[in-house]
């Protein structure tokens, strides 16, 4: 596993996209912190950017990378290696290099301008989101052989989690506004990793006005500490679950 991981990471880092991504994050972070006069405001603006950009880049880059290395995977499968090792090495390679990119691009500016509990939570959430979306992309790429379909699927998934999901929840709320929906709303927020991390950071920042409906209920329901722990757990499940399904698929895949 270690051997393979090394080669995957070297291959990804030589790919200039990851460097561009790091640079882009760096530019955004520094400009956001320099534009706002208080660093707390800067952090909030950065939050919204991170919640959109990080999942998008991670899911699309990973999907394309997996498709582009299909021949490489084929080569590895014909070697004395377990399929499980191959798949997990690619996953770890992608998630560690993209996490590193996020840490350099957004983590370091946050540490420079706003090194407190909120800043740390935000870095942690960025890293979590990175890994969750790498995991989802492994699933998207594992489901179909066709590259165009796979990339389309991952764009759709990103769109779903960042826009459509919220619209659906709102629609649902208005349709059933006469009923008590608090518990269901909490459940809903676990179905979306982006929502979970948003709630997590806002719980930490303690800005209920910006929390949105789910966030407010979330806090009311669990209180701060339990809420944070539970959403961590939710994010963990979001990493493990797609990865396991894709691994199961990959073990039976014809190459």
């Amino acid at each position: 596993m270690k051997k393979l991981l090394k080669y995957v990471i070297v291959d990804i880092i030589q790919n200039k996209i990851v460097l561009i991504y790091t640079f882009l994050l760096l530019v955004i972070s520094f400009s956001v912190f320099n534009l706002e006069n208080s660093s707390a405001k800067g952090l909030l603006s950065l939050l919204n950017i991170i919640l959109i950009i990080v999942p998008l880049i991670c899911i699309i880059f990973s999907t394309i990378y997996i498709y582009n290395s299909s021949e490489f995977i084929e080569l590895l499968v014909s070697q004395p290696l377990k399929r499980r090792t191959i798949w997990l090495s690619i996953f770890s390679g992608l998630s560690s290099s993209l996490s590193l990119a996020f840490f350099i691009g957004a983590g370091i500016p946050i540490l420079l301008y706003h090194a407190d509990a909120t800043g740390f939570t935000m870095i942690a959430m960025g890293l979590f989101l990175t890994i969750v979306f790498v995991s989802i992309s492994m699933l998207a790429a594992g489901l179909t052989r066709d590259k165009a379909k796979g990339i389309g699927l991952s764009i759709l998934l990103w769109l779903f989690f960042s826009l459509i999901f919220d619209a659906l929840v709102l629609f649902f709320l208005f349709q059933f506004q006469d009923y008590p929906l608090e518990k269901i709303m909490v459940l809903f927020s676990f179905l979306n990793p982006i929502d979970l991390s948003r709630i997590q950071i806002l719980l930490q920042m303690d800005i209920s006005a910006l929390m949105g409906y789910t966030g407010a209920i979330f806090r009311e329901f669990f209180g701060n500490t339990t809420g944070i722990l539970l959403s961590f757990l939710g994010l963990f499940i979001w990493i493990i679950f797609p990865l396991l399904i894709s691994l199961k698929k990959f073990k039976r895949k014809d190459l």
Partner: protein, 240 residues
Amino acid sequence: MIVAKNITKKFGKLKALDNVSVTFSKGECIALLGPNGCGKTTLIKSLLGMVVPDSGSIHFNNELISNKWMYRSRIGYMPQIGRYPENMTIAHVIDMMKDIRKGSSANPDEALVKSFGLKNMMQKKMSTLSGGTTQKVSAALAFMFNPDVLILDEPTAGLDPLSSEKLKQKIIQEKQNGKLILITSHILSELDDLITEVFYMQEGKLVFHKKLSVLKEETGEIKLSKAIAKIMSGGELLKY
């Protein structure tokens, strides 16, 4: 050495392998022949565990291969189209394979690397290589770790005459070392002095698996290409 029993593999509606049973034994050099799309590559990939058959079993040295992986350290595989990570240089790819197959051979056999002249272009990236050079890298890697079984899928396609002659000499040498060699090729004239057995498939089914000498006797031809042509046209004559 390799025993496959009743393997069937479907890709959608297409039956790529239809109840194929076969025994390949040590020391033989076997040509897998048949028209395009008859299931040769699928058979090879099933042996390597790259394709999972729908039914049937494959044994390697009396061990069932499903979900196993160690047995592949004893196989050298040269794919039809070898593609490698684009950013890696030849040296990186070779080092990586040595790293992955550490233990399967104490001193790697770099004879082909030398005779193909790959040493002079070790620093070239894989994406800049021509098809033939990539093929040379694949061949060098397949022979490097002194495997008991060599599986060569269209080994000489894309190689210049000189290199393909070098590769042929290497194959003959390995055959004399008592290894099992499976070759698919459409250039039958090349196979004449290499192979000992012929394995002929059509539409996913095994048509025959015979010793080369027996085949030549039956058809009354001295050239493999002629013998096969006779069989293929004979089959078609029967149809019409």
